[in-house]
């Protein structure tokens, strides 16, 4: 017997998914998360899942240890070492005032203060040539100050370090000889130009490195003690995974380790069903995350912001808005507002009976009959409809609205905000949401999926298997993946002859990482891409590069240029076909498949799609558009054939509303496909 295990640690629960490779079955284990000592929850889940640890052949883990350390500002004391004359780059930022009418604007809080920034003498030019060599004495002096200052980690960011890594390597070596803390070099974490953004990324990586290191060491040794024989893999923000060893060097790449699992899962679920374009929505108690899968690939972005601080690192593009089951419904003058404030887990929605008096989206769903009161959230909690109605009535009174009217209008507002979040990722890029399937998961995803689909005129919704633990399910579908990037500022018209060399050197780099991951002997696929733009523009478009283009760019430059014009036209509605185009960066991703392609458990899971109609367990009132309809209630695992809406499908950690005019049917892989007739 061989097993594969994926673990996702959430705010409330730690989810484990166990795949029995030969037996072709999958099961979930849910234990309470153990904040403070997350490893305990992981070990408890591993013990509870029933698989002997020595039989586990793949152990994948999504961790929010880094992200939480950042969000709660519990990271390491970081010293920043930079080029003389540029001490304040990190504190100055870019000088912008996003809250433009605020006379009292305060910048995002940096991760270190001015006393933690040290200058060394050295200087590179923009082309990487040396203007002034590294002054070893100045580095030694700085090392002394860092040692005396009790810092726990060091970030080294030298001007133009992306163009020539020699100075950072030398300064890093000199510091490591004298210091016993992690030293993080900017060109390894983010070899891209723009000194503030690169500094911010490197500092953030150094900030979470010691915490990640300690966490991973504890986890690995605890799992060893249980008998686990294989390395622990960690999901990366880019949707791939890497070994814990490599994660230690590039901690910043694990920031979105948690949320990406669902996107990777949606991609895999879509692949099995031959659905290549999906909009994924992950809705829980406080937030609503949107991502795209296009042409069978998760949509990646090369930079993003966290708490206002920029990060140059590839990440699955997740657009988050503050709309979840706990979003508060409030009257403000004669306006009705929903969120972004949330009731959280405490006091929670009014219907939880834990002291919450303000109504939430969950209360609205309950009062409208979209969430059956027999349903027990998170498997255990009873819901109080009267408390929900009373809370809605208090908000409705000044507006002259009945509780049910408030509930319907609040959902309308929430659905609009969610639809806007989806439009930002689609319509705004020239993509039509109607060409996509909406894939809904998370505790509250299924509740809103068909209504949201109608708002966007989407006619197909996929509620995947195990929607409440879908992130962990997704982690089992990932590959080992590394992304590298190099600033490559060249004119496309000159068809730079050093392109093959640049791509080759990036391939060597990623191959080295895969070997250290213990995945060097797996089948490896490389994907090269370039960021291109019109000369003079700032924003770039990323285009994949074919092997033939890399090998002989001169012969294919015209075709590449045409592809750029076309992509530009698709995005912006116009293109300047006579304007020159330039390269800005070259990217290489290396992907090593861990699966052997034979995964019977994925195809066979769930009940077979039969013709029989399941019997509803009950019926209930369902309100929509001021009308009261009757909805049938089903248990999900009992559904074997088509179910007509309005219907409510219940399972342990998720409820799915099949809206009027929609039909749900089980499909291969244990997923539920909803279609508008």
């Amino acid at each position: 017997m061989a097993y594969r295990v994926a673990i996702d640690i959430g705010g409330t629960f730690t989810d484990l998914i166990l795949e029995d490779v030969e037996g072709a079955t999958m099961s979930t284990t849910k234990v309470l998360s153990t904040p403070g000592r997350l490893v305990d929850g992981v070990i408890e889940a591993v013990r509870a899942c029933g698989a002997p640890p020595e039989r586990i052949e793949l152990f994948v883990h999504g961790t929010t240890a880094g992200l939480n350390a950042l969000l709660e500002r519990r990271g390491a004391r970081v010293a920043l070492v930079t080029t003389e004359g540029f001490r304040d780059t990190y504190l100055i930022g870019r000088g912008n005032r996003p809250r433009m009418y605020d006379l009292h604007y305060v910048k995002p809080e940096p991760l270190l203060d001015r006393a933690a920034i040290f200058e060394v003498r050295e200087r590179l030019a923009a082309d990487g040539s040396v203007l002034e060599p590294v002054d070893a004495a100045s580095v030694a002096a700085v090392a002394g100050e860092i040692a005396a200052g009790g810092f726990e980690s060091v970030a080294v960011v030298l001007l133009h370090g992306y163009a020539n890594s020699a100075h950072e390597e030398e300064v890093g070596r000199l510091l490591s000889e004298r210091l016993d803390v992690p030293v993080v070099l900017s060109h390894r974490v983010a070899p891209e130009w723009r000194e503030y953004e690169r500094t911010s990324t490197t500092v953030m990586s150094a900030y979470i490195t010691p915490i990640m290191r300690q966490y991973v060491e504890e986890l690995e040794s605890a799992l060893r003690a249980e008998g686990l024989a294989v390395p622990v893999y960690i999901t990366e923000s880019n949707g791939g995974m890497m070994s814990a060893t490599v994660a230690d060097e590039k901690a910043v790449l694990t920031l979105f380790s948690g949320p990406v699992g669902g996107v990777v899962g949606a991609r895999a679920a879509g692949e099995a069903l031959d659905i290549a374009d999906l909009i994924t929505i992950d809705m829980g108690g406080t937030s609503f995350d949107v991502s795209l899968v296009r042409g069978g690939e998760a949509s990646l972005q090369s930079e993003f912001e966290l708490q206002g601080l920029p990060v140059l690192a590839p990440a699955v593009e997740v657009h988050t808005i503050g709309a979840g089951g706990g979003s508060l419904i409030r009257a403000d003058g004669d306006r009705l507002r929903v969120g972004p404030e949330s009731a959280g887990a405490k006091p929670g929605p009014a219907c939880y009976g834990r002291g919450g008096v303000e109504p939430t989206i969950t209360d609205a769903n309950l009062v409208l009959g979209r969430l059956p009161s027999e349903q027990r959230l998170a498997g255990s909690m009873a819901l109080d409809v009267e408390a929900a109605r009373a809370a809605l009535a208090r908000v409705g009174e000044p507006l002259g609205l009945q509780p049910e009217e408030v509930a319907e209008q609040a959902l309308e507002i929430a659905h609009f905000a969610m639809a806007e979040a989806i439009r930002e990722l689609t319509v705004e890029r020239g993509l039509d949401p109607r060409d996509f399937t909406l894939c809904a998961f998370g505790g509250a995803g299924g509740l809103h999926a068909t209504a949201l689909a109608e708002e966007l005129e989407i006619t197909r919704v996929l509620v995947p298997t195990m929607p409440g633990a879908f992130s962990a399910w997704g982690m089992l579908q990932g590959d080992v993946r590394h992304d590298t990037v190099q600033t490559f500022y060249r004119s496309l018209d000159d068809a730079p002859a050093d392109l093959p060399g640049a791509v080759e050197s990036l391939k060597t780099q990623v191959l080295g990482l895969l070997e250290r991951d213990g995945a060097g002997d797996r089948p490896i696929r490389f994907e090269a891409a370039a960021d291109l733009r019109y000369v003079g523009q700032e924003y770039t478009l990323t285009l994949p590069l074919g092997d033939h283009e890399v090998a002989d760019l001169a012969a294919h430059a015209d075709a590449l240029r045409d592809r750029f014009h076309d992509a530009y036209h698709q995005r912006y509605g116009h293109a300047s076909r006579t304007e020159p185009v330039e390269f800005v960066t070259v990217r290489v991703a290396a992907i090593a498949a861990l699966g052997d392609g034979d995964r019977p458990a994925l195809a066979a899971a769930g009940a077979p799609a039969g013709a029989g109609e399941a019997a509803p367990v009950a019926t209930g009132d369902y309100r929509q558009g001021g009308e009261v309809l009757t909805a049938a209630l089903y248990q999900r695992d009992a559904i074997t054939g088509p179910v007509e809406g309005p219907a409510i499908v219940m399972e342990e950690t998720c409820t799915t509303v099949v809206g009027p005019g929609w039909t749900a049917r089980p499909v291969a892989g244990g997923h539920l496909l909803l279609e508008k007739s």
């Binding site: 540029f86 001015r114 905000a417």
Partner: protein, 543 residues
């Protein structure tokens, strides 16, 4: 008979947000496809959706200075040409200072939006073009009439019924030293307008025009009520403040600016009477931009976090003396249309700083502080211009923030050193905080910066650094911030202080040290806590 429509609160809320997010989508498309850093990094632009009267429906963050300028321009054009002049598929443009209020580089592009054959609104995108054929390349600082400042374009169709007017485009590009970027920026604006029109239509398709129109009136009324409630909290009275600019770029005679703010119940009047007459140099602004800047001053003090729409500013009366630098003759030089307006904004805040201290702040970066290096005839022609960031004023709630862009700009981003050195023959020797530049006080003013450039090739240098003689003021006993200084050292010459110059030839190896100003302090310095002083010391923020 027209039946009145009462939209539900949800519809009103959704329509309001839909116009804002439509504008945001316009802004992103503009910034991502524009060619000039002045648009995509400095956000020297403004985009919005407007109703058929020219009232704002939704705006995206651009230059806060342009808060009301597109609305003002559309209204003025409507007055000039009449609503009947617009046809479906048109895109118009205009840059004349007498209509747009700002300098000729700021070009307004706008498109009428028709619903079932009836004009229902406009989408507009205003953006800064680097060169519209002024007498010198770069940022001219010594013009004395508008003819020296570039090509004046009255309201014209650049696209008629969907067809681009190639002849007009030729005329415009022929008048620019950097025609490629200009055409790209124009097309980016056109795209933004079309995006806006599509979103406008999708909103109307979803709810029907009657619901949309009723929703607009509803959220306009809500915004007006919020403004009135906020002004009503300000004690009634007449508040006055005055200040002066160092000079108009031609003479060193100070340029006086006087504001009188009258608060009566829930209404506010801001009067610029007593300010300088039209300047010979280019410190003049058209009435549209003057009104826009005064609306911004109001916004700093009244509901600063709320989005803006056509319902705002209905309780604000703006009085502008004809013939002053705030409403000059149609041929007045307007290239530096900002300094006196930014001073007026600061003076409005200052005037009310005793009445509503919790909403006010001490003086801050009071000018755009421009530095431009240009060489249009070298091996590789280039134009590198930036606006230098500085310290903001302290306030009742804390110290002023350091190193932020001036009040007229918002989500502007400064030039990374690594990109600057890659693109231009310049080397940055230093980029850091200017320690000791924040005005002392119970709360300390924010710090300015020091930025040192070295030229690697000969070029022309233009500088505009205002507010040196009257730097960012302290309030309630706080001290003034340090004034801006620029030190120029040409090889073999003495280091000298230059605050304004136009196209000064500088050889390779010239060093330009810019020390931007700090923000003013708030409250008596004796009341600054020992902990805060020790922290300033530890971080090396004071000298």
């Amino acid at each position: 008979m027209h039946t009145p429509v009462t939209p539900s609160p949800a519809t009103v809320e959704i329509v309001r947000h839909a116009f804002m997010s439509g504008a945001e989508q316009m802004r992103r498309n503009l910034c991502r496809s524009a060619y000039s850093p002045v648009i995509y990094e400095m956000k020297d632009c403004s985009v919005g959706l407007y109703d058929a009267r020219g009232d704002l429906l939704g705006q995206a963050p651009g230059l806060p200075f342009f808060l009301g300028s597109l609305a003002g321009t559309i209204k003025l054009v409507l007055e000039r040409v009449g609503a009947g002049a617009f046809e479906e598929g048109d895109v118009w443009l205009v840059n004349d200072s007498a209509i747009c209020g700002s300098h000729l580089n700021d070009v307004t592009v706008f498109a009428p939006i028709f619903v079932d054959g009836t004009l229902r609104g406009f989408s507009g995108a205003k953006a800064h073009w680097n060169d519209v054929g002024a007498k010198d390349a770069g940022y001219v600082s010594d013009s004395t009439d508008i003819f020296q400042e570039g090509l004046r374009i009255p309201p014209m169709r650049i696209i008629r019924a969907g067809e681009l007017d190639e002849q007009l485009l030729d005329l415009i590009t022929l008048n620019s030293r950097f025609p490629g970027a200009l055409a790209g920026d124009l097309m980016a604006q056109v795209t933004a307008c079309r995006t806006g029109a599509e979103r406008f239509h999708s909103i109307v398709d979803r709810y029907g025009w009657d619901q949309v129109e009723a929703s607009i009136e509803r959220f306009f009324a809500q915004a007006e009520a919020a403004d009135r409630a906020s002004v009503a909290e300000i004690p009634d009275g007449v508040y006055r403040a005055e200040g002066a600019l160092d000079g108009d770029g031609i003479s060193d005679r100070p340029v006086p600016v006087v504001v009188t703010v009258t608060v009566e119940g829930d209404e506010m009047t801001i009067d610029l009477e007593g300010s300088s007459p039209e300047c010979r140099g280019s410190i003049n602004s058209g009435i549209v931009q003057t009104r826009s800047a005064i609306q911004q001053a109001f916004k700093f003090l009244v509901n600063p976090d709320d989005p803006v729409c056509g319902g705002n500013f209905r309780n604000l009366e703006i009085k502008v003396p004809k013939g002053s630098c705030f409403d000059p003759s149609p041929t007045a030089a307007c290239l530096h249309y900002g300094p006196h307006l930014m001073l007026a904004i600061d003076l409005v805040v200052r005037a009310l700083s005793d009445a509503v201290p919790e909403r006010a702040a001490a003086g801050h970066v009071g000018d755009s502080w421009n530095i431009t290096f240009v060489n249009e005839r070298g091996r590789e022609p280039f134009l590198a211009g930036e606006s230098i960031i500085g310290g903001w004023g302290a306030h009742e709630h804390g110290d002023g923030e350091s190193a932020l862009v001036h009040s007229a700009a918002g989500d502007f981003k400064n030039y990374p050193v690594e990109i600057m050195e890659q693109r231009y023959p310049l080397r940055l020797r230093r980029h850091g905080l200017r320690t000791g530049s924040g005005g002392d006080g119970r709360h300390r003013g924010g710090l300015g910066i020091v930025r040192e450039y070295e030229t690697l090739e000969p070029c022309l240098l233009s500088l505009w650094f205002e507010r040196h003689d009257t730097p960012a003021w302290g309030l309630h006993g706080g001290k003034d911030g340090a004034p801006p200084e620029v030190w120029v050292t040409r090889p073999g010459e003495e280091r000298r202080l230059v605050l304004k110059c136009n196209a000064m030839p500088v050889p390779a190896g010239t060093v330009v040290e810019v020390h931007s100003g700090g923000g003013g302090g708030w409250g008596d310095p004796a009341e600054r806590s020992p902990q805060n002083r020790a922290e300033d010391e530890r971080l090396g923020l004071i000298d």
